[in-house]
Amino acid sequence: MALPLPPGLTHSEVAFLAEMEMVTVVPRQRLESIDLLSGQTPPLRPPHRAQLPLWLALLLKKQRRANIVPPPWLHPASLADIIHRETKGAGFSAPPPPPARANPHEPGRARRFADDDVTLSPPFQPSCTANAPAGYLPYHWLEVAESLLTHAGDDMAAPVGEVRSLLRDLVEVRAAKMRDSISELQGLERGMMLLTGVGSIELAESRGFVLGVVDGVRKIGASTEATRRDKEEMGDERDDEGSDDDMGI
């Protein structure tokens, strides 16, 4: 049975990914370590905090076995700060800095969260734990925020209504940016466009349309591009001849 979906992740696939983000929980009951496919869970000992994937944290929360510590970026002050920056600046606000850890060989220099042959990226970077920096939206910000507000509203740092209304403002101001970026798509003449800081849900919503525009511009410009390449190639050949002559001298 072939998958009947167009290229690109859907909203529910993206939300599924977001559930693998690590979050911080405060257990209310003891729970021994569980031997999962993705590794052993830490043993839970109240009141010691532990890091768990969101899907597991939500499972514990529903059974009242744990509370979830909201990530610092989801605090109202942090959200207000981000909204302020998003409103002032042109592009999306910067993504969280790569989790930097002290490098014993180069003290003071941040090191990418990478091992010899694997580079972790969202949702496997710890950007939604209690230690995540405030003021930065991680890639899966909207999914994580929505699911925490819905299922762990009583664990939030502020009333759910207040956080939600800030989130709504944030969604709005960023949606306007996404629309503005579309008019720049013609500027994709140089072959690429940066969209750093965009969130996964925002991508899922706009992907089909944005890629449709980029592909459309390419197709309409195909003969212009081919002509340009021919000219450049001929120019190169002429240059080559020139250099051959130089060699002859």
Binding site: T10, H11, S12, A15, E143, E146, S147, T150, R179, I182, S183, L185, Q186, I201, A204, E205, S206, R207, G208, F209, G212, V213, G216, V217, K219, I220, G221, A222, S223, T224, T227
Partner: protein, 194 residues
């Protein structure tokens, strides 16, 4: 281009104004003169695929069978109107496959490069407008299912007029934008339910 792409096939069926360069016996019926010889200089509208073949083919003196020109859809009037305001032109009235046709013509007539930059600007400007409308009807959930997407969107007024004038490429774009907005809304409602 895909072998089985219906839109590409339909685009190739669009008519081009052609001028015969040679006399062709018994082809007079193309010019309302059955059983006669079609004279050199006769102007006949031929489908793109045929015009292309006849323009490439030569007789023994190296003369093309026909010359063709830009179709009226890409004529000067239309291009000037697009330069003035890309959103004001109902492209669909020119051709249901306006951009497909334009792309094919630029391929055939390499000298039409200025046309290319006008059309790219047109496409992107109109796409921005399409995104706006798709968002407005995002909550409706009744749009963009069938092929006559634009008629019953409940956008009203100028918006409806604009959407009616979209060509096939643009309708697909509208559908994608609309589906994205709709999926986002559904997801949001779903999170809150579970």
């Amino acid at each position: 281009m895909s072998y089985y792409d219906i839109d590409a096939i339909l685009t190739d069926a669009e008519k081009l104004p052609c001028t015969f360069q040679i006399d062709v016996p018994d082809l007079g019926y193309l010019d309302n003169a059955p059983t006669q010889t079609l004279r050199a200089g006769a102007k006949v509208a031929l489908p793109l695929w045929l015009a292309e073949m006849l323009a490439v083919a030569n007789d023994d003196q190296g003369k093309s069978f026909v010359n063709f020109d830009l179709p009226r859809a890409l004529g000067n009037d239309v291009i000037q109107a697009l330069k003035a305001d890309p959103r004001a032109v109902p492209l669909r009235d020119q051709s249901a496959h306006f951009f497909g046709l334009a792309t094919r013509m630029m391929d055939l007539l390499a000298e039409e490069q200025e046309l290319g930059s006008v059309l790219r600007k047109t496409f992107v400007t109109r796409a921005t407008e399409i995104a706006l409308h798709a968002r407005k009807v995002g909550g409706g959930g009744k749009a963009a299912g069938g092929d006559d997407g634009a008629s019953n969107l409940g956008v009203g007024g100028a918006g409806e007029e604009f959407l009616r004038g979209l060509d096939e490429t643009e309708r697909k774009l509208f559908r994608k934008a609309h589906e994205g907005a709709k999926a986002a809304k559904e997801w949001m409602e779903n999170v809150k339910k579970h």
